[in-house]
């Protein structure tokens, strides 16, 4: 059984983003006399980055436990957002890649796992130590469960060295359960 937590280094950058995103619009709203359209835009920015900060705090307190049976997410909010998905009951597996740079480098991956009925969704990103191992285990479960992969997931898996380099070919190959 392996437990994973987001490192403070990754979270600190997100906390700073959140603080910048809240404080700059708030300062403009407080100290200058903005026209309504700009005022409400700044309000929307404050809400967005306050939400981002809360989400970062939630990630800060989240522990992901992975073993041969499945993955479990435990964290803050009094267990309200706790989830557990067994590998055998996994119904969806998606791997996404996001980058804000023009050359698409320096981004991060997001893994989305969906369980059976009432099992909910577990999301994690590549800032989590041991992310590659979790992806590998989840991918193995996908193959065992005979789940189809979308081309995006297949292409991202191939970048991690887990499948064929041709996303289309990978997806069609894996649609046939072994």
């Amino acid at each position: 059984m392996n437990s994973h937590r987001y490192p403070m280094k990754a979270l600190a950058a997100d906390y700073m983003r959140s603080a910048f995103g809240v404080l700059l619009p708030a300062a403009l709203m407080l100290f200058t006399n903005l026209i309504p359209v700009v005022f409400y835009s700044m309000g929307a920015l404050i809400l967005l980055f306050a939400g981002y900060g809360l989400r970062t705090a939630w990630r800060h307190g989240t522990v992901l436990t992975v073993d041969g049976n499945g993955v479990r997410q435990e964290g803050l909010v009094g267990g309200f957002l706790d989830r557990e998905i067994g590998w055998a009951e996994m119904r969806d597996f998606r791997l996404r890649y996001y980058s804000t740079q023009r050359d698409r480098t320096g981004g991060w991956m997001q893994l989305i796992l969906r369980g059976g009925e009432n099992r909910g969704v577990i999301r994690m990103d590549s800032h989590l130590p041991g992310f590659d191992d979790i992806v590998r285990q989840a991918h193995a479960a996908t193959q065992n469960n005979g789940l189809a992969l979308d081309p995006t997931t297949a292409a991202n898996l191939s970048s991690l060295g887990l499948t064929s380099a041709d996303p289309g070919l990978a997806s069609t190959q894996e649609k046939s359960p072994s």
């Binding site: 995103g21 200058t32 967005l48 890649y97 804000t100 990103d125 069609t172």
Partner: protein, 341 residues
């Protein structure tokens, strides 16, 4: 996606700030300013009263202050003579040439520019999408050759030339003047149903003129991308398994081929805006283009700055929408040669 959205918004804030700095520097680059040029003329004619008025304006608008302070006051993040009163507070500044507030000089021009460019983008997508798909699916058919020919004509014809041709043809064969963006009776009038209809009628030709080259380019790109996808092995496999053609097309190849199509929203906006400026001069359209050119020539800095900032903000927002759509459509990693494309 939420994280991406927040990160992307955060990237936009410094981008807009940098753009505003560059815009301000550009409008300050030529030696002197509008008032100093005027002052030189007054000196030669010996008009003392007007010179005193110009000196007052120079002090009033802080033109004698350091550039950084002028920038802060212009943007509204630094208090000027009237406290915080810049673009963020809705004060676009003073047009020295028209001797009026910029917001009054600009009037409906910014909104009309926005409407014209937005409609043109809709036109480009509405026309190029079905044609692009058709020409890829029916490669080398008569329809493909015909559309390709029309596409090349569209790519090769300068917008202003097409505008002149349509103006000539409209006048000669239909006896109508296609210039302007509304009937003369509506110029300066408040928005009404009649004015809206008049704008819609007059917008048809400018939209076609400005959108033609973009449409032609977009058709070629969509056709090439879709052809690439249709030749991949998964398509052959799906066909061999008996999947119907339209289902196969919609499931993956079309979605994959849409990526550059969506990514082009950001590139399309600056092209439209710069292209529409020349067309607006030829067709006498009351948009921002001709007034921006005049403002830059006469160094009417606040007027030019407001236009440039508005157009740049529009482009940044276009890029933002394009990036969000692309991230939602296909969040794939692209490394090596693909990353550099």
């Amino acid at each position: 996606m939420f994280t991406y959205f927040a990160h992307r918004v955060l990237v936009m804030i410094p981008t807009l700030l940098v753009i505003s700095v560059i815009t301000f520097i550009i409008i300050q680059l030529p030696p002197g300013d509008y008032l100093s040029n005027q002052m030189a003329e007054m000196l030669s004619s010996g008009d003392r009263a007007a010179m005193e008025n110009l000196a007052f304006l120079r002090q009033e608008f802080g033109l004698d202050k350091p550039m950084l302070e002028q920038y802060g006051v212009w943007l509204g993040i630094w208090p000027g003579n009237n406290g915080f009163s810049g673009i963020l507070q809705g004060n676009l500044g003073w047009s020295f040439e028209y001797n009026l507030p910029v917001s009054e000089v600009v009037g409906d021009r910014l909104y009309l520019s926005l409407l014209l460019n937005f409609t043109t983008i809709l036109f480009v997508y509405a026309v190029s999408f079905p044609i692009g798909v058709y020409t890829a699916v029916r490669q080398y058919s008569f329809g493909d050759h015909a559309m390709t020919f029309v596409g090349y004509i569209g790519l090769a014809t300068p917008n202003f030339l097409l505008a002149l041709i349509l103006l000539y043809l409209g006048k000669k064969y239909f006896g109508v003047s296609m210039g302007g963006l509304m009937d003369e009776e509506f110029i300066g009038a408040d928005m009404s149903w009649g004015k809206f209809l008049s704008i819609c009628e007059h917008m048809v030709v400018p939209v076609i003129v400005i959108g033609t080259s973009g449409t032609a380019g977009m058709i070629r790109r969509l056709r090439a991308n879709l052809l690439d996808e249709l030749q991949k092995q998964y398509v052959t496999t799906a066909r061999a398994k008996g999947l119907k053609n339209y289902k196969l097309l919609l499931k993956y190849p079309l979605r994959m081929a849409l990526n550059p199509f969506v990514a082009d929203i950001g590139n399309l906006l600056p092209q439209m805006i710069s292209g529409s400026a020349i067309v607006a001069v030829v067709m006498s359209l009351p948009t921002s283009g001709p007034m921006l050119v005049n403002a830059l020539q006469s160094q009417d800095q606040y007027l030019a700055g407001s236009f440039l900032l508005f157009l740049a903000a529009l482009t940044v927002i276009g890029m933002f929408v394009s990036d969000l759509a692309l991230a939602a459509l296909d969040p794939r990693i692209r490394l090596g040669s693909e990353a550099s494309k």
